[in-house]
């Protein structure tokens, strides 16, 4: 999983790792730890990439319509995750199976999130955070707002039909490399 050479020779995004399978507690923790090691010389990027990874993977774990029982009584949502980067950005693509009704709700939610600027997103998060938890949701339902806030870039979602009842929902997050930014400003 760990590439020895993380230097970038081309402008094409280079894949760091991809994962497709159950989003268990252990897997999420391992992938999070990898980010910390991989970006240990850039704390600012490390924190952002780590935080976004956790939200994306935990969302896939809660909401995926396809799941695997890893141990007895431990069912985990199945998702796909790809981390890549180029000179300017990190790219995190996360996808999972959703029902048609969820797909349309997500589509609307993402369109709304993308229409808000930073301050409006903060306000929206403050309001949404205080709403009662949805019955089927273990999360706070504000994961995507948080991802948009942290990445400072629009969410890029796609929905691919899978049969009559499902869609494969995929979201690509772009994160500006913090170190490159700092250098540009100086």
């Amino acid at each position: 999983m760990l590439f020895e050479d993380t230097s970038i020779a081309y402008n094409q995004p280079q894949e760091v790792f991809s994962y497709n399978g159950p989003m268990s507690h252990t897997i999420i923790s391992e992938l999070g730890d990898f980010i910390k090691v991989w970006l240990s010389d850039d704390e600012k990027s490390s924190k952002k990439v780590f935080a976004i990874l956790i939200e994306l993977l935990q969302n896939a774990s809660y909401y995926s319509k396809s799941s695997i029982t890893v141990h007895e009584n431990q069912e985990h949502g199945v998702g796909r995750f790809i981390l890549s980067h180029d000179q300017d950005f990190f790219y995190m693509e996360c996808g999972n199976l959703v029902s048609t009704s969820t797909a349309s709700k997500l589509d609307q939610a993402i369109e709304h999130i993308n229409s808000l600027d930073h301050q409006a997103l903060r306000k929206y998060k403050r309001e949404q955070r205080d709403k009662p938890r949805e019955e089927e949701s273990k999360g706070a339902g504000i994961g995507l707002i948080q991802v948009a806030l942290l990445s400072s870039n629009p969410l890029q979602a796609s929905f691919t039909p899978k049969g009559n009842e499902y869609f494969f929902y995929s979201n690509t997050i772009r994160i500006n490399k913090q170190k490159a930014n700092t250098l540009e400003k100086i």
């Binding site: 600012k44 924190k47 952002k48």
Partner: protein, 135 residues
């Protein structure tokens, strides 16, 4: 009844994972701290213990509370629980309780600074927002 006996809480974070923060709630002094990282998938289960502790402490002891939040990272599930906790402290302060909240964040981490500002704006509970310099 056993659950009427309030005791200090100490929960040590598992060093192998960033899922659970270190918690130290001192019954004698009312000084409480939550430190480290909090990525719990079902944060409510973990934080309900802390929320209940505050509720009982306020009811039984009516003492001072100093909450030190040194969370370097938390997920949105934890973020909602932190809000619930701050709302209880705000209510206590409004009814005459002595409440101090100190929020620590790494000086480069603007996202965690904004988290603090957003909690203050929403709950109206003042916090001392304190940057930690890099090691």
């Amino acid at each position: 009844m056993a659950n009427n006996t309030l005791e200090s809480i100490f929960i040590e974070s598992n060093e192998d994972s960033s899922f659970t923060p270190t918690v130290n709630f001192d019954l004698a002094t009312g000084v409480c701290s939550i430190e480290g990282e909090s990525c719990l998938e079902n944060a409510a289960e973990f934080y309900n213990t802390l929320i209940k502790w505050f509720e009982q402490y306020i009811k039984q002891k009516e003492g001072n509370i100093e909450l030190n939040l040194k969370l370097l990272y938390f997920n949105t599930s934890s973020s909602k629980c932190i809000l619930d906790m701050l709302k209880i402290l705000k209510h206590y302060k409004d009814s005459g309780g002595m409440v101090t909240v100190n929020w620590y964040y790494r000086s480069y981490d603007e996202d965690q600074l904004e988290e603090a500002q957003d909690y203050v704006a929403y709950t109206k509970l003042p916090m001392n927002i304190i940057p930690i310099q890099d090691d």
